[in-house]
């Protein structure tokens, strides 16, 4: 059956949707426009269009250092989250152990909890354990918070997995290790890539947890935060425009990868599903 319905959409719904899209995109349009504004962030309409802010940006070493730090943090956090999130999803799917219900709640909690609580509680841990705050503590923080994302995505993938394949593999004499790498992982490929991309993006933009775990080296959002607090910085508009363009490319790439395999968008669905368990 096709997804089309017998009734036409009322006109006010379409108007409402246009208004919502305008609301969602207005700040982004403003940000891109003002990255070319000769007078910086003030005044309207933007005047004396210029590439000046981009020129200044490319010579701004601290910003590029923070971009590198953020990429490093995001990559490491992604590794941690996958390394512990995938087994966590497997455990929730196919193992019974005491405290399973509590474990499920704890793993998923950072997904719904305001970042400030995760950040603060971890900063207390590091203080008591006398660990100096640095990029490493931020990596541990992001990794821990984002295990929830890896677990939800992979758990949803496991629900759709046909276990008969794994059983067949084991019956035919493959070891658990072989079965895991040859059957389980390839079947979960899309969930894992999706989780990895999502974790990477979320970590790149994370600020509430980082805020409490920051040492001497800034991540990009914290560098931006510092500059916004100090005052007017049109360079921020320029770097955000560049990052936005890169994100768009990543989205198109991911979208094509996904449509080649299967099409249903699942992020929201998984959140609802996991909430039910």
């Amino acid at each position: 059956m096709s997804a089309t319905t017998p009734i036409k959409s009322p006109r006010w719904l379409t108007a409402h949707a246009l208004a919502v899209f305008a609301f969602l995109y207005l700040p982004i349009v403003i940000l891109i426009l003002y990255s070319f504004n000769g007078q910086g962030v003030g005044g309207f309409p933007p005047r004396n269009l210029t590439f000046n802010w981009y020129r200044i940006l490319f010579n701004d070493a601290p910003i590029w250092d923070s971009v590198l730090n953020s990429l490093l943090v995001a990559a490491a956090a992604m590794l941690i989250a996958l390394l512990f999130g995938i087994p966590a999803a497997l455990a929730l799917d196919r193992a019974q152990f005491p405290g399973k219900a509590l474990f499920r709640r704890l793993v998923l909690l950072p997904l719904i909890l305001p970042g400030i609580i995760t950040g603060l509680s971890l900063s207390m841990l590091f203080r008591v354990a006398e660990v100096k705050l640095s990029l490493l503590t931020i990596i541990l923080g992001h990794g821990t918070a984002l295990i929830s994302v890896a677990t939800t995505e992979v758990f949803a993938g496991l629900q759709k997995l046909n276990r008969a394949q794994e059983e067949a593999s084991l019956d035919l004499g493959a070891t658990y290790c072989q079965t895991f790498w040859r059957i389980t992982v390839p079947n979960l490929k899309l969930s894992i890539i999706g989780a990895a991309l999502l974790i990477f993006t979320l970590s790149m933009d994370e600020i509430a947890v980082s805020f409490f775990l920051i040492g001497r080296d800034n991540t990009l959002p914290l560098e931006i935060w510092g500059r916004l607090r100090r005052g007017i910085t049109p360079e921020i508009n320029a770097i955000s425009t560049i990052i936005f363009l890169f994100s768009l490319i990543a989205i198109v790439f991911w979208y094509r990868l996904r449509t080649r395999a299967e099409v249903t968008p699942e992020i929201g669905a998984e959140l609802v599903e996991t909430a039910k368990h």
């Binding site: 059956m1 319905t5 017998p6 949707a17 919502v20 899209f21 969602l24 995109y25 207005l26 700040p27 982004i28 403003i30 003030g42 005044g43 309207f44 390394l83 512990f84 087994p87 455990a91 196919r94 193992a95 152990f97 474990f103 950072p110 719904i112 909890l113 305001p114 970042g115 400030i116 609580i117 603060l120 509680s121 971890l122 207390m124 541990l140 295990i147 794994e166 658990y176 993006t201 933009d205 509430a208 805020f211 990009l220 931006i224 916004l228 607090r229 990052i243 936005f244 989205i251 979208y255 449509t259 099409v263 968008p265 992020i267 929201g268 669905a269 998984e270 609802v272 909430a275 039910k276």
Partner: protein
């Protein structure tokens, strides 16, 4: 079918990690909230209820908490108002363009939270986009200064940030509604409005609850939008926590407030789960 060794291998590592980096920190926060700070600024590990006494006796704390909840409630309401009809339109009337529109809702999430919040500052400021346009259209003779540095600015910005988060679970739950139920309702002579209120809406309640919880809880704990756009009247409870951990250097009191927030949030999640169980049909 899975051996004991396999189950141990998939269970123990995440269990240990979660215990060390989630359970222990929460317990530490609990402990901290019963400790105190000496005059020289060191933490005194003697157990007492002083922090909780202070929270109850100083109106500034619970007043700020109430204001934060009021701001969060408005954000929840408005993101629902924006997100639900959009999700409905996409799920039932978008036809082949569904995936494209879906991506269009997600894409703003890829622009940094901070930068979008800051863009609203450019829009709402006294010489900003909105004020210039209003004056140009002769709708006002002088810049409106209540737009920025007010709870209004915080609600607007947080609504902008969390509308996609409310949209996602609602859309997912609408997508899961079997289409033949909707057709049956039409065939049996129900009007579109009846079909919506009697069939579609009740089945989408799990998504609505998840989206509402997201919007409320995440904006309740926000401290960046109030700092950027809130001004003195837009201060939220997390801002107090941040200052207690920073300049004021009173970690135990900050921990007590955080614990209250945590309890409130867990209570809401519990409530929303109970409601969802009541409403989910399978």
């Amino acid at each position: 079918m899975f051996s004991r060794a396999y189950r141990t291998a998939i269970t123990v590592p995440p269990l240990v990690w979660v215990a060390v980096f989630l359970l222990v920190p929460y317990l530490l926060m609990f402990c901290y909230s019963f400790w105190s700070v000496s005059d020289s600024g060191t933490i005194v590990h003697s157990w007492n209820l002083d922090n909780y006494h202070e929270l109850l006796n100083k109106p500034v704390y619970w007043q700020t908490l109430l204001r934060s909840m009021w701001i969060a409630a408005r954000v929840m309401f408005f993101s629902m108002l924006l997100g639900y009809p959009l999700a409905y339109l996409l799920s039932f009337h978008a036809g082949g363009r569904k995936d494209l529109y879906y991506q269009l809702v997600i894409i703003p999430l890829w622009v940094s939270y901070l930068v979008r919040a800051y863009a609203w500052k450019t829009i709402l400021g006294t010489d900003g986009v909105l004020n210039t346009l209003l004056q140009y259209a002769h709708l006002t003779s002088h810049p409106l200064d209540f737009l920025l540095y007010s709870p209004f600015a915080v609600v607007l910005t947080l609504t902008h940030i969390y509308t996609p988060f409310t949209f996602l679970p609602i859309y997912a739950s609408l997508e899961h509604i079997p289409r033949n139920l909707v057709e049956a309702s039409h065939d049996l002579g129900a009007t579109p409005a009846q079909t919506f209120w009697r069939v579609i809406f009740p089945l989408s309640i799990p998504g609505v609850l998840a989206g509402a919880t997201f919007a409320f809880v995440l904006s309740l704990g926000d401290f960046l939008a109030p700092l950027l756009l809130g001004g003195p009247s837009g201060i939220m409870i997390s801002n107090i926590v941040v200052s207690l951990f920073g300049a004021a250097y009173n970690w135990p009191l900050g921990a007590a407030i955080s614990l209250c927030m945590l309890t409130l949030v867990l209570g809401l999640i519990f409530l929303s789960e109970r409601l969802e169980k009541k409403w989910s049909f399978s």
